[in-house]
């Protein structure tokens, strides 16, 4: 019998602790599949965030460093500079990357640091209890914007991909979503490009993945995917914001 589907070798098999309907599990799997396909599990070092995915190292079957809140790009820089031939990626949420870690992500991108960043944007702080994130939409209710984000006092949400794509050091920037199978397939392609780019020496690569948080959004998982499509995507348009001038060499090789 031919096995047509199995757990990626880059996952440990430990059941995810994520809430029902949370898309972290899907994104973990996409990253793991990519690492498997590129054959780099034994030469990849991941850097984990603070937030809901703080335990990503328990799920990924590869070397990992756990970083303090927002500092993953700096930690990844340290790892990559010591092991320039290895693949280094960070996995960060929107509180981690777009608030406390803004300086680190901007400057890792500006330096063209040859790392891959998986940026999971669900427009809210999850682990700490559903607070206002830099990516929370105007009017969205959170525990620290109980009557909805007030643009007057709490400002407007940050579009990270657009912002970073203005930097010369950024080699590949894309925004994808995982709210339905079609988009999941597109997301996988972008993640794969982001890793392959690193291997071929293209500068900094980042994939922003729009994700759900049914628990803190107060929605049923199915409603949450619909809410994402109806509300997040209009504000955070999907697509590639920055691509390398020519197709990356490694990507040609693997295809």
């Amino acid at each position: 019998m031919v096995k047509v589907f199995e757990r990626p070798k880059s996952l440990t098999g430990k059941p995810f602790h994520y809430c029902p309907g949370c898309t972290h599990g899907i994104i973990h799997r996409l990253v793991a599949e990519t690492i498997d396909e590129l054959g780099i599990r034994e030469t990849t070092i991941g850097v984990g965030p603070v937030g809901c995915s703080v335990f990503i190292f328990e799920y990924m079957n590869l070397d990992f460093q756990q970083a303090s809140h927002g500092r993953a790009p700096a930690v990844a820089t340290g790892v990559k500079r010591v092991h320039p031939g290895k693949t280094v990626f960070t996995y960060q949420g929107d509180g981690d990357l777009a608030a406390i870690g803004t300086a680190e992500i901007v400057h890792a991108a500006a330096r063209g640091e040859r790392i891959t960043v998986i940026f999971v944007n669900n427009a809210i702080y999850g682990m700490t209890g559903g607070q206002l994130a830099p990516t929370t939409l105007v009017g969205m209710e959170t525990t620290t914007s109980p009557v909805g984000r007030n643009q007057e006092t709490q400002g407007s949400p940050v579009r990270v991909s657009e912002m970073l794509s203005t930097l010369d050091g950024a080699g590949y920037i894309a925004r994808v979503s995982v709210h339905d199978p079609k988009h999941i397939i597109q997301a996988k392609k972008a993640i794969r490009k982001a890793f392959a780019n690193q291997m071929s020496g293209v500068g900094f690569s980042l994939v922003e993945v729009l994700s759900t948080c049914p628990t803190n959004w107060g929605l049923h998982p199915i409603e949450a995917t619909k809410w994402l499509a109806d509300n997040l995507i209009p504000y955070y348009p999907l697509g590639e914001f920055k691509v390398p001038p020519a197709p990356a060499k490694a990507e040609r090789e693997v295809e």
Partner: protein, 354 residues
């Protein structure tokens, strides 16, 4: 082996390179900037990496990444920058990562100024960052000692898998003295725990999160065992004219140098005074100090602070002797004649007014 005239800051850099350090992550701040200036050139010569980070916070986290990846790594700063690095230092202690962190202290609190100070003693020796952790803190008093202690610092960091701090001040960083630069045979230990890519082995993890309190307590207890071992094995001090001393001065770094000058002048007047200079501030030489102090009638602590190390001196003496203090604050230096005056007061049976 060659004798060279070097600035303290540059000597730290050269010693680091001698010790096999090939990675430096920093951020500019006076009065330590000659160190990154030196490292950017020197590391290029030896195929190392110098990176100016976007902040001290990033620099220390780059150190975290590089140390976790198995490298000998260093960062340096001055007081306000070290405050920013404390987050990373706590994480490194928690994740058991070796690194050398240099603090060339300046006047505080806040922005303070760029003149030499010793007011980060508490920060360096009593934690500074959050959680139960200790750093080995070494306090040189000459440029040659800067070289020797920096080399030792890298060895100790790897030996215990713990950050080690070199605590100097603006005077030590800026001054030039002759130093001996020698070839060093460096044996960097194997680091099978480092994240180098899980080739043919189980994945490695660099981590300080233990979400359940029980394993976190276990982790802490294990760290405490290590910290106690570090404390037992690394007490360092210098005694100066203490053999027949009736008055004991306790000072470290630049203060200790200036105190030596005052002690020599007091000796010329027939005052029997000596100095204990703690070289390791953590671990502090409690037992040695208690022993030396048995024979004296008075103890004077001299610091470029409002009185921080004096708390450890008092702990060491445990109320057995009066402990007086003379300190200058905010980037001011104690002057030889001022220290002499305090010694004279004690010699006459009075108290120093601190």
């Amino acid at each position: 082996m060659a004798e060279m005239l070097m600035k303290g800051n540059e000597a730290i850099g050269e010693a680091a390179v001698m010790a096999g350090c090939r990675y430096f992550f920093g951020y500019p701040i006076t009065p330590q900037s000659e160190l990154p200036h030196y490292m950017v050139k020197r590391l290029a010569e030896v195929g190392g990496v110098f990176l100016q980070a976007e902040s001290e916070t990033s620099a220390i986290n780059m150190c975290y990444g590089a140390a976790g990846a198995g490298a000998r790594v260093m960062t340096s700063s001055s007081s306000p920058g070290i405050s920013l690095k404390l987050e990373g230092i706590s994480y490194m202690a928690g994740a058991e990562l070796p690194a050398v962190i240099v603090n060339i202290m300046r006047g505080g609190p806040g922005l303070g100024n760029i003149q030499p100070a010793q007011s980060d003693y508490f920060q360096a020796t009593k934690g500074g960052g959050h959680g139960d952790y200790n750093l080995i803190v070494l306090a040189p008093a000459s440029v040659q000692e800067i070289v020797d202690l920096t080399i030792d610092a890298f060895e100790l960091a790897d030996k215990y898998r713990n950050p080690v701090m070199i605590l100097g001040d603006g005077v030590l960083g800026q001054m030039m003295e002759p130093v001996e630069i020698r070839e060093l045979k460096v044996n960097i230990p194997e680091k099978p725990w480092a994240t180098t890519g899980a080739t043919g082995r189980k994945p490695n993890l660099i981590n300080s999160i233990y979400i359940a309190p029980e394993p976190c307590e276990e982790h802490n207890l294990r760290l405490q065992v290590k910290f106690r071992q570090m404390a037992r094995e690394n007490v360092r001090y210098e005694d100066y004219r203490t053999d027949d001393a009736e008055i004991l001065v306790v000072a470290y770094g630049t203060s200790a140098r200036i105190a030596k000058g005052a002690i020599d002048r007091a000796r010329e007047q027939g005052i029997r005074v000596g100095l204990v200079r703690p070289v390791s501030l953590w671990p502090f030489p409690y037992e040695h100090l208690a022993e030396v102090a048995q024979k004296v009638t008075a103890v004077l602590v001299v610091e470029m602070s409002a009185g921080q190390m004096i708390e450890d001196v008092r702990l060491a003496l445990n109320g057995s002797k009066p402990v007086d203090f003379y300190g200058r604050l905010g980037g001011m230096l104690p002057v030889t004649s001022e220290i002499l005056r305090e010694i004279e007061k004690l010699a006459k049976g009075g108290r120093s007014n601190g």
